[in-house]
């Protein structure tokens, strides 16, 4: 896999010259390439039969396609480069310091952030602080000309060797890591002269062990020097988990995550780059929820000890059934802080973003769910939920289904809790995805075909699961009957089924419902309030007439005509709500119902009724939330 580093190299350069102090793994780079991935699964696949086999092609083919070929090739080509050549290459000129440096040699890409550090002279602390200020500037030469003569500068370059195919974002991550290591070392140097001590130690070991084989020397260095030990563990961690937490000089803790690697732990073969995560996190809204992917114990290694308190505060309030907003208020944190913490956890592959679990959420099997008889998830599932078969459970989600639909009030309350747990488990393993309902304002403009009732059917949300069964049977014979069926005030029967259960017990899912504005107990009160359309009172005042006219001004002529044909447009309340939502831009396929409900403080039933009344000008459909989907659907 091109995510793993081939090697980490430490190069040191001062007035006495350059030196490669430490390198891990110890074999020459050519050999590392071979050893690095012993479990090479992919057979040497034959290229497109019409393509000419050329070594030049290999570098261009992005990633996992031909790892074996690329590695075989790399072996021969990099073996010639001795440590002194590498050291000369990475002892860069001062102009190149403190910025990204990338060098590609044949099929190895070297990335680093050369850092210039002023050496702490053993004399006074006074001069040390003086140098601290100047070393920040790029080429620390001009301003403090007086001190320059005495000032010792050294260059430290922690270089990561990667496969040439490593993508831009991976390279960027490694650069960031090198930069942070450089900064940490700079800090430790200025605090206690750590770097001077460590580099001197390493150099001395090299000098002493000159007749020994190089590998032995490096081993010895790793035993003696804590810096070398740290670099070694960093390299190993990057190869195994992509998450690292290293303490330098038993003082400074450096935590780092390589998302491209870390996210593979939860979903094999997925390549999540930081840009995708950022895109997902930018779409974070207060109504979103968080689902942890790991145990509480595993959370702490992703934050430096100083940040742990706030994380615990959030984790204490953690509940996948409530929104980030509620979590923030329960944890007594501001929503911005919660966003930051959640973003951090998501970046570190410790959590994922969901819509808080509730009865009305509609789930369906994710298109790329790794569901097959040989999957390890099958066993994992039956261990977690004794006696349950993953396939049996998940096949219920072949059709979009909500927890509410899968449980009936007649079952024991515990059943719903277990089901919620199973859904959470399946979400954690990315086996399910949630479907949301979106609305698009789109009046029909073609009357020339004659809108017969049978050809004018809007698909209804919520009720669709009930419908599908009947649809199959009824459709061919009487298409018209469906219209009458779906035009009933719709979520009522469904809600009526569910309500007793919600009130009965405090199961996990019902907690959420109380918080959510969605299908709450109050829904039947609201019905009577806004259902006034039907009793068309003939005493429509002039005022109302005027108001309706004003409201309709926001639409263009064609749209206005289409809306006027709908009876509900004569009701001021209904029309003003429609106009309000329209003007807010909610009917452009960009916002799902839950979002509209959240931001406009509407109940699900209220919204569904409105959408039903104006169904002739609205198109309603189900699809996944693109913000959440983008993280894991990178096909």
């Amino acid at each position: 896999m091109e995510v793993n580093p081939l090697a980490v190299i430490l190069v040191y350069f001062d007035s006495k010259g350059d030196r490669l102090l430490y390198r891990y793994p110890y074999q020459t780079l050519g050999q590392t390439l071979k050893l690095e991935e012993p479990h090479e699964e992919q057979p040497n696949k034959k290229r497109n039969p019409f393509a000419v086999a050329s070594t030049d092609d290999l570098l261009q083919t992005p990633t996992h396609q031909h790892p074996t070929q690329a590695q075989g090739q790399g072996q021969g080509q990099l073996q010639g480069f001795a440590d002194d050549v590498l050291s000369a290459l990475f002892a860069v000129k001062p102009q190149l310091c403190n910025q990204k440096f990338e060098l590609k040699l044949n099929d190895v890409r070297f990335v680093s952030h050369p850092t210039l550090i002023s050496v702490v002279p053993a004399v006074t602390s006074n001069s040390a602080s003086n140098q601290t200020t100047t070393s920040g500037s790029n080429a620390a030469s001009s301003s403090v000309a007086v001190t320059v003569a005495k000032k010792q500068q050294m260059l430290i370059n922690i270089v990561f060797a990667l496969h040439a195919q490593a993508s831009y974002s991976i390279v960027k991550c490694y650069h960031e890591l090198s930069k942070r290591l450089g900064l940490a070392l700079k800090f430790e140097e200025q605090r206690s002269g750590y770097l001077t001590e460590q580099t001197a130690y390493m150099a001395r070991t090299h000098d002493e062990q000159q007749q020994q084989p190089l590998e032995r020397t490096f081993e010895l260095i790793a035993e003696r020097c804590s810096l070398a030990k740290a670099l070694k563990s960093i390299c190993n961690d990057l190869c195994t988990t992509g998450l690292l937490s290293t303490t330098l000089n038993s003082n400074l803790t450096l935590t780092f995550c390589l998302p491209a690697k870390a996210h593979q732990l939860h979903k094999k073969g997925s390549m999540v780059d930081p840009e995708t995560i950022d895109r997902c996190l930018r779409a974070l809204k207060p109504y979103h929820g968080m689902l942890l992917l790991v145990d509480f114990a595993e959370l702490l290694d992703c934050v430096p000890p100083t940040g742990a308190r706030m994380l615990w505060q959030l984790v204490d309030a953690y509940n996948p059934l409530i929104s980030l907003q509620s979590m923030a208020s329960n944890a007594d944190l501001s929503i911005e802080h919660v966003y930051k913490l959640v973003s951090h956890l998501v970046y570190w592959a410790k959590a994922t973003i969901i819509y808080p679990l509730c009865e009305t959420n509609v789930y369906v099997i994710a298109p790329d769910a790794p569901l097959h008889t040989k999957s390890h998830l099958v066993e994992k599932f039956s261990t977690r939920f004794a006696g349950m078969s993953l396939f049996e459970v998940i096949s219920d989600f072949s059709l979009p289904t909500s927890i509410g639909h899968l449980t009936t009030p007649l079952q024991q309350p515990a059943r719903q809790g277990i089901l919620a747990q199973m859904v959470l488990w399946m979400l954690q393993h990315h086996l399910l995805m949630q479907l949301h309902t979106y609305v698009q304002f789109m009046p029909s403009d073609d009357d020339e075909f004659g809108d017969s009732a049978s050809c004018n059917q809007t698909h209804m949300p919520g009720s669709c699961d009930n419908l599908t069964e009947e649809e199959r049977d009824d459709d061919p014979l009487h298409g018209g009957s469906i219209l009458s069926m779906s035009s009933q005030p719709l979520p009522m029967p469904v809600n009526a089924n569910r309500r007793p259960m919600v009130e009965d017990h405090d199961s996990l899912a019902s907690d959420n419902i109380a918080v959510q504005p969605s299908s709450s107990h109050k829904s039947n009160f609201s019905m009577t309030a806004s259902l006034s359309t039907d009793n068309c009172d003939s005493l429509d005042s002039m005022e109302d007439e005027q108001k309706l006219k004003e409201l309709l001004q926001v639409f263009n002529d064609a749209d206005r005509a289409a809306i006027r044909r709908i009876p509900a447009s004569l009701n001021v309340d209904d029309l003003s709500l429609l106009v309000k939502l329209y003007q807010m831009g909610y009917f452009k396929s960009e916002h799902h119902l839950e979002e509209i409900m959240y931001f406009e403080n509407l109940r699900r039933s209220q919204l569904l009724q409105l959408l039903d009344k104006f169904r002739d000008v609205l198109i309603i459909y189900e699809t996944e939330d693109p913000a959440i989907a983008s993280m894991y659907n990178n096909k």
Binding site: V85, K93, L96, S167, Y438, Q440, Y621
Partner: protein, 407 residues
């Protein structure tokens, strides 16, 4: 440092000279970038490392060059390696060369490097073979006639660079005649192998390639091309064109590689589709107009409205078959060809097909049950066994050990 350093982001999309609509998206934030500059650097006997010829002039400033010249004229170990250095906001692809000759050269050797410069964010792998090839030409010309080391000759080199820079950026191909030599250069983009083609897949020809004369294709392609219509699946094409199936598969895979053909799931009225990113259809007027034209049953009549089309797509969801949608919405009354509608949706990824996977949950599978692993879709099983979907369906329904998963 350079005002133009960040233009890389705008360079995206220039790599599609072939116009097959195959978008080669930048890999994780990097972009396909143009060549910004070509220069020749040499090691001068007295002046040391210097740029002796550069197009456009002074793109690489002296400060930048001084900082990185060790990577342009490196030590002997690194000669004849493709060496790319990315620092100070420029990315320089070079192929350092040393020609040893004690008679000709003051220092017994002539060291030079021909470099292409890109934006620091741009992908540059595709230029590596070109840099190497052009260097080899220059080595040859140098050995024959001291083309590079003669002081006065930089004007001709300048002209070569100008042509190469312009032609490669515009057409990805450059041919230069210089004295007795003709230099041929071409940028070849490599994409990963397309996935292997299976019997049940349906190839769809993209764009206006039908207009290309048949003789331009290879023999197998000529034979199968008439049967590629977005409806026939691979096995059927093989049968109708009387070509061996494996040959058809590799031929189609080849066409997929070049972005001429796209593979779709087989179209059945019992299929279930699901929308994704449907909003793009309305947000782009060009796309919705293209869609209206494409899906029209009779193109000479009034084109179907966007609203109808959108409604049709919007009604696609899990559990609703194409048949049910057609019965409900009567697309043909609205001058819509539902098959074209599905093809257009799949092609532009507004919809995806929800496949059906039988999974055997018993202990020991026997016979056909061995295929029910969850990895082989229903269509594929039908194709492999040669049985009708109906038979398989009944077979699965009877078997209590088989669960069906739609995804």
């Amino acid at each position: 440092m350079h005002s133009h350093a960040n233009e890389g982001a705008t360079g995206h999309g220039h790599g599609h000279g072939h116009g097959h609509g195959h978008s080669h998206t930048g890999h994780g934030g990097s972009t396909e970038g143009k060549i910004r500059c070509i220069f020749l650097s040499e090691f001068h006997a007295t002046a040391g490392c210097k740029i002796s010829c550069q197009v456009p002039d002074n793109y690489i400033s002296k400060e930048v060059f001084d900082a990185i010249n060790v990577y342009i004229i490196p030590k002997q170990h690194l000669q004849r390696c493709i060496l790319t250095v990315n620092a100070m906001d420029v990315k320089i692809v070079g192929y350092p060369v040393g020609i040893q000759d004690q008679q000709k050269y003051a220092r017994n050797a002539f060291l030079f490097n021909l470099c292409f410069v890109c934006d620091s964010r741009a992908r540059s792998v595709q230029y590596e073979p070109v840099v190497k090839k052009l260097s080899e030409y220059l080595i040859m010309m140098e050995e024959e006639s001291c083309f590079l080391s003669r002081e006065d000759d930089k004007v001709r080199l300048q002209n070569i660079f100008q042509t190469v820079l312009r032609d490669l950026n515009e057409r990805k191909v450059a041919t230069i005649v210089e004295g007795d030599n003709t230099i041929y250069l071409k940028i070849v983009m490599h994409k990963p192998d397309p996935p292997s083609v299976k019997d049940h897949m349906v190839p769809l020809l993209l764009a206006n390639l039908r207009d290309t004369p048949l003789e331009n294709w290879d023999l197998t392609t000529q034979q199968i091309l008439p049967y590629i219509n977005g409806i026939n699946h691979v096995a059927r094409i093989a049968a109708e064109a009387d070509v061996e199936t494996d040959l058809v598969k590799s031929c189609i895979q080849n066409l997929v590689y070049y972005g001429v053909v796209q593979l779709l799931p087989i179209l059945k009225y019992s299929n279930v589709y699901m929308t994704q990113n449907l909003k793009h259809l309305i947000q782009s007027a060009a796309l919705s107009n293209a869609c209206r034209k494409y899906v029209a049953l009779q193109p000479d009549k009034l084109l179907p409205s966007v609203q109808r089309i959108f409604q049709f797509y919007a009604s696609m969801t899990h559990g609703v078959t194409l048949r049910a949608i057609c019965q409900r919405l009567c697309p043909q009354h609205h001058n819509i060809d539902e098959r074209k509608m599905v093809i257009f949706g799949l092609q532009h990824k507004f919809i995806r097909c929800i496949h059906k996977y039988p999974v055997f949950t018993g202990s020991v599978p026997s016979g056909r049950q061995k295929m029910y692993t969850g990895l082989i879709s229903f269509d594929e099983i039908c194709c492999k066994t040669g049985l009708s979907p109906c038979t398989i369906e009944k077979d699965i329904e009877k078997d209590t050990n088989v669960t069906v998963i739609w995804k």
